[in-house]
């Protein structure tokens, strides 16, 4: 097996946060002495990415996603830990490394705000030393997939969010980097624009075997694009594996919805079906949720059809948003003050790392 495109080991980033006491007294106190506390934004994160892999990096707000991306792109220097991307240490070899990566931060643009988009592309062409022929060919592809041709003559400030995002995506791939980081590339886009962006990313990954790291709040992005997800919360990796595996581990539920003819005297709120109980959703409509570890969906369906005069029936799985929401909730409950600390070693670990760095 060849070297991984990205190798992350025990990555830690802490920030000093100044605590401000409230009110005038607090403000005055702050003049002389400010209390700081340490926030561990990224807490011993490790993973490998193979070349050509597309990975979803997900987590709730403030989980440490963007901080990780900023370290992987060479913008931030970690507190401790190791990162090797395409053989580079991002923050140390920033300039050389930057030639091999493309980055899109959905909330910002890398295009110049007040000048025509095409001028930004010309500048990027010079920065990355893209030849005239390559430039023409790639711009043609971008126009076919993202329809940016007619946007090129306009200044960025006049573009809609979706138009700007398409231009930013094209800009990040102008030099055909082997590694692409996308931080919320579909934020604020409408359904059509999202579909365009996803199709474009799929195509880039297929055609150039670009390795893609994608952070997003829109789990449909992940479901459509990524085989694998790395889920983090409070700076720690909670899951690294397939989306299906994530669902099977945390919410292995089959949901069978069925309709019955409405009885004259109204239907009961709960209905026994063999050993299971179905809950009423609306008059005549029931939902039966079973744990897949305890029963197989076909068995349950057979029982439903055998014992009840079913008019209609549908089977579904919990969607991934629900699974992830449940994991966040479980993790938050674990972290409440009365719960035992997740790891005693965390604080000691950071001190040791600092010691190594100083020495």
């Amino acid at each position: 097996m060849s070297d991984p495109a990205v190798r992350v080991r025990d990555l830690v980033k802490t920030f000093e946060v100044t605590q401000k006491a409230p009110g005038l007294a607090g403000a005055l106190k702050g003049l002389f002495r400010s209390e700081t506390s340490t926030l561990r934004a990224v807490d011993r994160v490790s993973f490998d990415l193979a070349r050509g892999e597309m990975v979803g990096y997900i987590g709730p707000n403030g989980a440490g996603k963007s901080t990780t991306i900023k370290m992987l792109t060479g913008i931030l220097t970690p507190t401790s830990g190791e990162v090797t991307c395409l053989g580079f240490v991002p923050w140390r070899d920033r300039r050389a490394y930057a030639r091999s990566i493309g980055v899109v931060f959905g909330q910002r643009t890398q295009l110049w705000w007040d000048i025509a988009v095409v001028e930004s592309f010309q500048l990027l062409r010079e920065i990355y030393g893209v030849s005239g022929a390559d430039y023409e060919r790639r711009m043609k592809v971008f126009d076919e997939l993202l329809e940016i041709g007619r946007l090129l003559s306009q200044p960025v400030r006049k573009l809609s969010l979706g138009e700007r995002m398409r231009c930013d995506l094209a800009a990040s791939l102008l030099h055909e980097p082997p590694l692409l980081f996308l931080d919320e590339p579909t934020i604020g886009l409408d359904v059509v624009a999202k579909a365009n962006v996803r199709a474009f990313l799929k195509e880039a990954n297929r055609r150039l075997s670009t390795t893609v790291v994608l952070t997003t709040h829109d789990l449909d992005d992940i479901e459509e694009l990524c085989e694998r997800v790395v889920l983090i919360d409070h700076g720690q990796v909670l899951w690294d594996g397939s989306l299906r595996g994530l669902r099977d581990k945390h919410l292995p539920e089959a949901r069978i919805r069925f309709d019955l003819p409405a009885p004259a005297d109204g239907d009961p709120a709960e209905l026994a079906v063999g050993p299971w109980r179905a809950a009423r959703l609306s008059p005549g409509r029931y939902l039966l949720a079973v744990d897949k570890r305890e029963a197989s969906a076909p068995d349950v369906i057979r029982e439903v059809v055998r014992s009840l005069p079913v008019l209609d029936l549908a089977v579904s799985e919990p969607d991934i948003e629900e699974v992830v929401a449940r994991i966040y909730r479980e993790n938050a409950a674990l972290r409440r003050p009365d719960a035992p600390p997740a790891s005693e070693g965390a604080a000691a670990g950071i001190v040791a790392h600092r010691g190594v760095r100083r020495g």
Partner: protein
């Protein structure tokens, strides 16, 4: 060798060009600026006229005749309209707004990029600012021509070095401003120091001797005083060579300082937001 140097300079030429285009988007602001510079020079014209009038016809102040003083003021303000940039404020706001991240993801040297943008802005200012202001001043006030073609050439060379000097200083100031919470305070202090010590407000010849002895070894007076004296022929021969040499040395030294500061700062930068 030359070919590699040229090809590695290409992105930075492109930065200068983009900066030029970017400012073009705000050209209205610049036309107002022409008047601002003209008024500044005018205020100083009347102040000096009053002071010289007091002394009587043909008097000198600090070794300057009145026409020389007027010319010193006019060339000074015209030059300022060329070398002025706000690289420091831009760096500070890039950090504050988290836009610096978009620069750091590009394979470019941040200092070289910043200076290219500053020079691109100066090129713009030269055409739409300095030349019209210079013409206006020459038409309205009895500004002396340069004493010789050589003096003009040295003035232009020195003016170009001034632009580099200001760019180098502002890059450092911007990096220092990142670390303080009061960026505006730092910038205000900088303008006060630069305008006072560069000779823009008062010719350096008017400072007390001990102060002048120190100033000669600082970078600031090279921004305005050196080019002004070259134009007037008050610095010639060895004096001119020494002044230009010091000016160039300061450009190199401050660029080096900027690199050191950048290295120390980049590691500490905590990109906000996102």
């Amino acid at each position: 060798m030359l070919a590699t140097a040229l090809s590695s300079a290409r992105p930075y030429l492109a930065f200068a060009r983009t900066s030029f285009l970017n400012i073009l988007a705000y050209r209205a602001r610049y036309f107002v600026g022409i008047l601002t510079y003209f008024f500044n020079a005018t205020v100083w014209y009347y102040i000096w006229r009053a002071l010289f009038h007091e002394k009587g016809e043909g008097a000198t102040l600090g070794g300057f005749t009145f026409p020389q003083m007027l010319t010193y003021v006019a060339t000074g303000w015209a030059l300022r309209s060329f070398y002025f940039n706000e690289v420091d404020r831009d760096i500070a706001s890039q950090v504050r707004e988290g836009r610096l991240a978009m620069t750091l993801i590009k394979p470019v040297d941040v200092q070289a990029m910043t200076l290219s943008q500053a020079l691109g802005e100066s090129a713009f200012r030269l055409v739409l600012f300095t030349v019209p202001i210079g013409l206006l001043l020459v038409l309205v006030y009895p500004v002396l021509p340069p004493v010789s073609p050589a003096a003009l050439a040295l003035y232009l060379l020195s003016g170009l070095l001034s632009a580099l000097l200001v760019g180098a200083i502002n890059f450092c100031v911007g990096l220092v401003a990142i670390r303080t919470t009061s960026i505006l305070g730092v910038l205000r202090a900088k303008y006060l120091v630069l305008e006072l010590l560069s000779g823009l407000l008062v010719p350096v010849a008017f400072f007390p001797e001990p102060v002048r002895k120190v100033l000669v070894w600082l970078p600031f007076l090279h921004m305005n005083d050196t080019p002004g004296r070259l134009w007037l022929g008050l610095a010639t021969g060895a004096d001119a060579a020494r002044s230009l040499g010091l000016q160039a040395a300061w450009v190199v030294a401050l660029l080096a300082l900027g690199r050191l500061l950048w290295r120390a700062t980049a590691r500490r930068i905590e990109v906000q937001g996102g």
